[in-house]
């Protein structure tokens, strides 16, 4: 689509282009019969084989990777995922991507009276086996494994590491019977679905803690201090970059920063700032998508790309869905909290400076939407200062003290530490307010958790100085 101005249509709006590229990076066609689709991740690049190789960057704590085979000869794909959470539970299940006619008829005839049969996440597919744990070769934040699919035999194998499976020729007529079997699944594709997620046992170890750091602008001293502090905290799960990692958007600078951040023990996810997008740095491959949502413990964390001081039009549709109680790509209950992270605040602290969204009606629209959703907080990183403001039902955090020169001078740079407590009251629950006494008979209201017989906010957001050692 064009951004049309008085001088005619110019190139596609940058924010729309970035969103389009990140959505397109969720699927890759390897050959005429084989493709890979991901959710909660992006495909950064691939190599055509045999065997095919697909490189994936995680952008959530609960990825889905589908390998789809519509051919007949066995196919081998080697997969690698970067920025994978630790500890990770990896599992897979095999399907035919259709239902047998008798199953469809039985479900329709029973009108739901019959017990549920089928996979809860993909009810319109026919499961060929049960969900099984597999081991991927782990090295730091990477995981590697290989898969071999054979649709003619309706089998899929998963093995640790690469170079496990050989390349095999197809058997003539291998699928003839399968494709034409009466009452069968016809030409339905064979799908190997993978799930890579934070081990649920780790979620029981409340609180789930992560860090958010933005507006560093290639300040190497603060970056290295951050890495040291985060690596010293064994309870920290991941880092989110709030934008302006780069000072001028140079591709070489991105490579330098990513190389340094590789020393982090935890994965990182990122949104973008206006400095990151000044040039053609490979941001999608290096940092992942800038607009995304994923569930983490008690919260759904939503990142919004506001590098151009606006959001892409389609982002509002996605944001509507994320703020609701709808599940993401796995059919599971949505967490009770919503935390939104974006680089540019809707409104500047000083209206006359105008460093917020470039269109204030849009800023008002966004705040109205977030206020109705009663989010736990809106974290922003464009203003190189520390301040909080209440806008309707939204607490806006201005926390751009990651390394760029601070407003008013000084060098007290900082990042945010977010702790998500367990036992969070569900959305809509009416109960005690923050600070009130609580117990099983007198629960807390939504967004609060009963800790030591007192209601406290489930999402604890703290400013941590980069010069302060972790306790």
């Amino acid at each position: 689509m064009c951004t049309c101005a008085l001088w005619g249509c110019v190139s596609e709006s940058p924010v729309i282009a970035r969103e389009r590229r990140s959505l397109a990076a969720q699927a890759v066609v390897l050959d005429a019969r084989t493709q890979v689709r991901v959710q909660g991740a992006v495909i950064t690049h691939h190599q055509i084989g045999p065997p095919h190789r697909v490189f994936i960057r995680a952008s959530s704590l609960d990825l889905r990777v589908d390998v789809i085979d519509e051919g007949c000869a066995p196919s081998v794909i080697e997969l690698e995922v970067d920025q994978l959470i630790t500890p990770a539970l990896t599992s897979h299940r095999t399907f035919r991507a259709a239902l047998a006619p008798r199953v469809i008829a039985a479900r329709a005839a029973s009108e739901g009276a019959l017990g549920w049969q089928g996979d809860v996440h993909d009810p319109s597919w026919t499961a060929l086996d049960e969900e099984a744990i597999f081991q991927a070769a782990r090295a730091d934040k990477r995981a590697r494994w290989s898969v071999r699919l054979d649709r003619s035999q309706e089998t899929a194998q998963v093995a640790k590491g690469h170079g496990v499976f050989g390349v095999e020729a197809s058997t003539p007529g291998a699928c003839a019977t399968l494709d034409t079997e009466t009452g069968g699944l016809g030409r339905a594709a064979l799908v190997l679905r993978h799930r890579l997620r934070l081990d649920p046992k780790a979620l029981d170890e409340a609180p789930l803690r992560f860090a958010v750091w933005g507006n560093s602008a290639e300040n190497t001293k603060q970056r290295d201090a951050l890495i040291a502090q985060l690596n010293a905290d064994p309870n920290l799960r991941f880092l989110i970059l709030g934008g302006d990692l780069l000072a001028a958007g140079e591709p070489e600078a991105l490579a330098v920063e990513l190389a340094a951040l590789a020393a982090l023990n935890v994965p990182l996810f990122a949104t973008l700032g206006e400095r990151d997008v000044l040039k053609d740095a490979p941001l999608l491959a290096g940092l992942g998508p800038a607009t995304l949502a994923f569930d983490a413990g008690a919260a759904r964390i939503i990142l919004l790309d506001s590098a151009d001081a606006t959001l892409a039009p389609d982002t509002y549709t996605r944001l509507d869905a994320w703020l609701s109680d709808a599940s993401l790509w796995w059919q599971q209950p949505a967490p009770p909290l919503r935390l939104v992270i974006t680089h540019t605040p809707p409104f500047d602290l000083f209206g006359s400076r105008g460093a917020g969204f470039k269109h204030r009606p849009e800023a008002g629209r966004l705040l109205a939407l977030l206020s109705r959703a009663r989010i736990s907080g809106l974290l922003t990183f464009h203003l190189a200062t520390w301040a909080t403001r209440r806008r309707g039902e939204v607490t806006v955090y201005h926390a751009g003290g990651g390394g760029a020169p601070l407003e008013g001078g000084g060098d007290d740079h900082f990042y945010l530490q977010v702790s998500l407590l367990g036992g969070c009251a569900p959305r809509g629950q009416v109960g005690g307010v923050a600070g009130a006494a609580c117990d099983a008979q007198a629960p807390c209201g939504e967004g609060l958790s009963c800790q030591a017989a007192r209601c406290v906010a489930c999402a604890q957001i703290e400013r941590v100085s980069l010069s302060t050692p972790i306790d």
Binding site: F350, G351, H359, P361, G364, E393, P405, E407
Partner: protein, 361 residues
């Protein structure tokens, strides 16, 4: 009869006595001045090397005094830009000084671009003046307009608006309402002010279109689709000046400028589809500077052209950026003294086309 009396009352809101010469000036009378021709070569010099050395084009057509003025304006513009950057640097980007650094930078950029543009235009066309400005000095006009918006961010496309334009020799008021076709957004505005100075008040034969005015605007904008209401106002100072007073080649080309400071109170509804009442509590208040800078001229006896850069946080069209705002081009043609047709195009990140019909009451 009643209508005639009302019209007279609107036109004579205050006691106003003008001399015959002043009335002639209001009708567009301009004394003859010595003219120097322009040239294509001078224009090209102004376009090329003149980008760095403003006034080079005017120097070529032997308007040395104008050339020097343009050079000084360029220097002033660059100085203001630098001053804005220095303030930003010295204050470490402190937001409290944002208005000052922004204001100086923007004014400097306008002076720089304006002096270059004036050099190019004047060098091409020479001293021959533009047509006299036919903007009404006194007016009681009812206008209806249709606006189409092409903004990817919103679903709002078709808008209708009505406005009453009242102006005497010393004050003006312009109430207006605008509705989106699906009633998804609606707004009401009131713009009013008083002229502090008009050109023909100072001397006989002075141009009444040179003016300084102090005004205020109130707005109420409701967008039920988003559950959002806004109300607010601003104070502004605007001025319009015939550039020919400085540069003989720019006679009847007016530079216009408006600078304002205002606030908006935002009301967030807990339910989409509704808007809190006008006098209800607000959730927060935002302040903003607004700017409007550009040129106006008559391309024909009855055709008025304007080109403006507008930075207004309450404008519906999405801007290119917070600093650049939107660009607006307008063309207004008058038929038989009482009917005005105006076409306006606004462009930023989004765009809008506006067609207005105005009838003199």
């Amino acid at each position: 009869m009643i209508f005639t009396l009302a019209r007279l009352a609107l036109l004579h809101l205050a006691l106003y006595n003008a001399t015959p010469i002043q009335r002639a000036a209001e009708d567009g009378y301009q004394p003859r001045v010595e003219e120097a021709p322009g040239s294509a070569l001078a224009g090209l010099i102004a376009l090329g090397p003149g980008l760095l050395l403003h006034g080079a084009g005017h120097y070529k057509i032997d308007r040395k005094e104008s050339a020097l003025k343009l050079l000084l304006i360029e220097a002033l513009g660059l100085a203001l830009i630098a001053a804005g950057e220095i303030i930003e640097e010295v204050s470490d980007g402190d937001g409290a000084y944002g208005w000052l650094s922004n204001g100086m930078g923007r004014t400097g950029a306008l002076l720089f671009l304006g002096s270059w543009g004036a050099d190019v235009l004047g060098a091409f066309k020479g001293d021959r003046p533009f047509e006299p400005d036919n903007t009404r000095l006194r007016s009681a006009q009812l206008s209806l307009a249709y606006r189409y918006t092409g903004d990817q961010l919103t679903l709002f496309r078709h808008h209708m608006s009505a406005a009453l334009d009242l102006s005497s020799g010393w004050a003006y008021a312009r109430p207006s309402v605008a509705l989106e076709a699906g009633m998804n957004t609606r707004r009401a505005d009131l713009d009013m002010g008083a002229y502090l100075l008009r050109g023909h008040w100072l001397d006989v034969g002075g141009d009444p279109h040179n003016l300084i005015a102090l005004g205020g605007r109130l707005h109420r904008i409701e967008t039920p689709l988003y559950g959002l209401g806004r109300r607010g106002g601003e104070l502004y100072l605007k001025w319009k000046l015939d550039l020919g007073l400085l540069l003989p080649t720019m006679r009847a080309l007016y530079i216009v400028n408006r600078a304002g400071y205002g606030f908006s109170q935002y009301q967030l509804s807990p339910t989409a589809g509704q808007v809190p009442p006008l006098l209800g509590d607000s959730d927060f208040t935002d302040s903003a500077l607004s700017w409007e800078s550009g040129v106006e001229l008559n391309t024909g006896a009855q055709t008025h052209f304007s080109l403006l850069f507008i930075q207004d946080p309450n404008l519906e069209t999405s801007p290119i950026s917070s600093q650049m705002g939107v660009l607006e081009v307008a063309l207004e043609h008058r038929y038989e003294d009482d009917l005005d047709i105006e076409a306006r195009i606004t462009g930023g990140d989004g765009w809008a086309i506006w067609l207005e019909l105005g009838y003199q009451l």
